[in-house]
């Protein structure tokens, strides 16, 4: 925790120095951005937009992670599913976000559903790819053990498979959350009347770097808090059986 604060302080110091070197117009200093955050917070706009974005991020993330992990698990364990699904996966993986978003909006209208579906579809293949690697490297020895002792499907999933997938799920979740957020920004830019992405889009039209950073940092602060108070304690708990590193 102490180390974390030191690191954050260093980050802000680096930012401050950078803004002094680059000039406030190109990189506003931390105070200016903090003030902008306070301003937006006072007007209620921050909470409103952040709330809208977070809700979208949360829903899309949960859908994409759940579906993506499931598909990844199946593809990693069954050769046929892998062969059949792989080209689809690569196509979806490499389809530009823009294409998916535009098609989703055009077909399902400028609705919340379309927005969330578009984000989830963008993230899904990445979760799938990561979890598939995990499923491929599952330990056959433990599988055999579970089979000999006739463990049920649920027991196997929960006690044999998931703990092995944990690092892959962690990687998929962490990179996935950031990806979902990046795509939500584009989705909001292209077809939502609110949210951080919308505000950043507007600020960009005006080249208001301070406001862009204000909104970006507000979101990052939320992520840092989630990471520090939720994800990392959970991770420590899940990895408590591991011999500790130096």
């Amino acid at each position: 925790m102490g180390m974390r604060l030191v690191s954050l302080a260093l980050l802000i110091a680096a930012w401050y120095v950078g803004s002094q070197l680059a000039g406030a117009r190109l990189l506003p200093d931390p105070q200016a951005v903090a003030l902008a955050i306070v301003d937006e917070a006072r007007s209620g706009a921050l909470a409103f937009n952040l709330g809208a974005t977070l809700a979208r991020v949360a829903v899309a993330f949960v859908i994409a992670m759940a579906l993506g992990s499931l598909i990844g698990l199946i593809m990693g364990r069954s050769r046929i599913a892998d062969r059949l699904g792989d080209p689809w996966l690569i196509v979806l993986l490499n389809l530009p976000a823009l294409v998916i978003i535009v098609l989703a909006y055009v077909w399902a209208g400028l609705t919340e559903t379309a927005a969330i579906a578009a984000v989830a579809l963008n993230k899904l293949p990445i979760a799938t790819v990561t979890v598939r690697e995990g499923a491929r490297s599952l330990d056959h020895a433990l599988d055999d053990m579970a089979q000999v002792f006739r463990m049920g499907a649920w027991t196997r999933l929960r006690h044999v498979v998931l703990p092995q997938l944990a690092p892959y799920l962690a990687a998929a979740a962490r990179s996935g959350l950031s990806l979902v957020w990046k795509i939500v920004l584009i989705v909001e830019l292209l077809g939502r009347p609110n949210g951080v992405g919308f505000e950043i889009g507007v600020a960009f039209q005006l080249f208001d770097v301070t406001r862009i950073l204000a909104y970006a940092l507000a979101f990052i602060a939320v992520m840092l808090a989630i990471e520090t108070f939720l994800v990392q304690p959970l991770e420590r708990h899940v990895a408590r059986w591991r011999p500790r590193p130096a």
Binding site: Y105, G109, T111, L190, L206, F207
Partner: protein, 306 residues
């Protein structure tokens, strides 16, 4: 309360002119006066409006007739009604030596909106008349307009062709309009200021909701007149436009006022027809689609004009 016919859904870019007009309409109760229930889909980018209209999430948006013509030629029944003739310009620093189109030779020219931007195409067409091939004889940089403004201010670029509101910003920061698009258009044979931008909507929908459309166009027109004539309105709108600088605001007001369409409908259409040929030649099928000339019916004809 409004009946179903009175409902109209607008795709509005938050920082765009339609948003200002809508603000005036609401503030002055023009919507109630014309018995309209205006719903808005607020969006953060221009392209979002096209998605909204295409996806059926909005009835009306702001676009240029070039795109409408292209869509028509590809089979989509979109129609266009002129709204504003305000155009951008090539902006240069105050002390720059660039004063006319030939001055661009050998310079670094930034173009907002990419290679198919209509102003850019028109500028190229005019340059050709002076024997200048801008694509070959200048260093062209494409980019997002806000980014290019910033680059211009940084001095990385000699001249910037950008949209009118960005021009106004640059002007308020001491930049000069070296080549105004109004002049370019005239140089290409237009008889007056051409309204490239206008209200765009589905033709079939417009037929079914003729009265609604026309009442909306009337309301919008009144809003424009209010805006053109009232200084306090601009003061009030400043936060929406997100401008605090008085100089900039004045330039905005001036340019906006100049752009209000005052010419007969037929003149607009005739000029559009002429410019279309120019654009089709220089942009090719990639830009205009299969049609050789402005497709018939591109311009929406209000009952009053018939």
């Amino acid at each position: 309360s409004a009946t179903a016919e009175d409902r109209i859904r607008l795709a509005v870019q938050r920082t765009g002119t339609l948003a200002w007009e809508l603000d005036v309409i609401r503030t002055h109760g023009l919507d109630r006066k014309f018995d309209l229930a205006i719903e808005t889909v607020e969006l953060a980018s221009t392209e979002a409006g096209k998605i909204a209209l295409k996806g059926g999430s909005a009835d009306l948006m702001l676009s240029d007739w070039l795109w409408v013509a292209r869509e028509r030629s590809l089979g989509d029944n979109l129609v266009f009604y002129p709204s504003s003739s305000t155009l951008g310009a090539v902006m240069v620093p105050a002390h720059s030596s660039i004063r006319e189109i030939v001055g661009l030779r050998g310079k670094k020219l930034a173009v907002a909106g990419g290679p198919l931007d209509k102003s850019w195409l028109l500028l190229q067409a005019l340059a050709r008349q002076s024997g200048l091939d801008l694509k070959k004889q200048t260093t062209v940089v494409y980019g997002a307009p806000p980014l290019l403004s910033e680059k211009a201010l940084q001095g990385e670029i000699d001249a910037t062709l950008t949209f009118w509101n960005f021009c106004a910003d640059l002007e308020s920061k001491g930049y000069r309009r070296a080549i105004a698009m109004d002049d370019v258009v005239k140089g290409l044979g237009a008889r007056g200021p051409v309204a490239l931008v206008g209200y765009t909507f589905d033709g079939t929908w417009a037929v079914r909701n003729r009265s609604t459309v026309e009442r909306f166009l009337a309301a919008a027109r009144q809003a424009k007149d209010i805006l053109a004539s009232s200084q306090p309105e601009w003061q009030r709108l400043a936060p929406r436009i997100r401008i605090s600088d008085a100089t900039a605001l004045a330039i905005y007001r001036q340019r906006y006022g100049e752009g209000i369409v005052r010419r007969p409908f037929a003149d607009e259409e005739a000029d559009a027809r002429a410019l279309y040929l120019v654009l089709a030649e220089i942009g090719g099928a990639e830009l205009v689609g299969p049609a050789r000339e402005l497709p018939a019916g591109t311009f929406y004809r209000p009952a009053a004009a018939e």
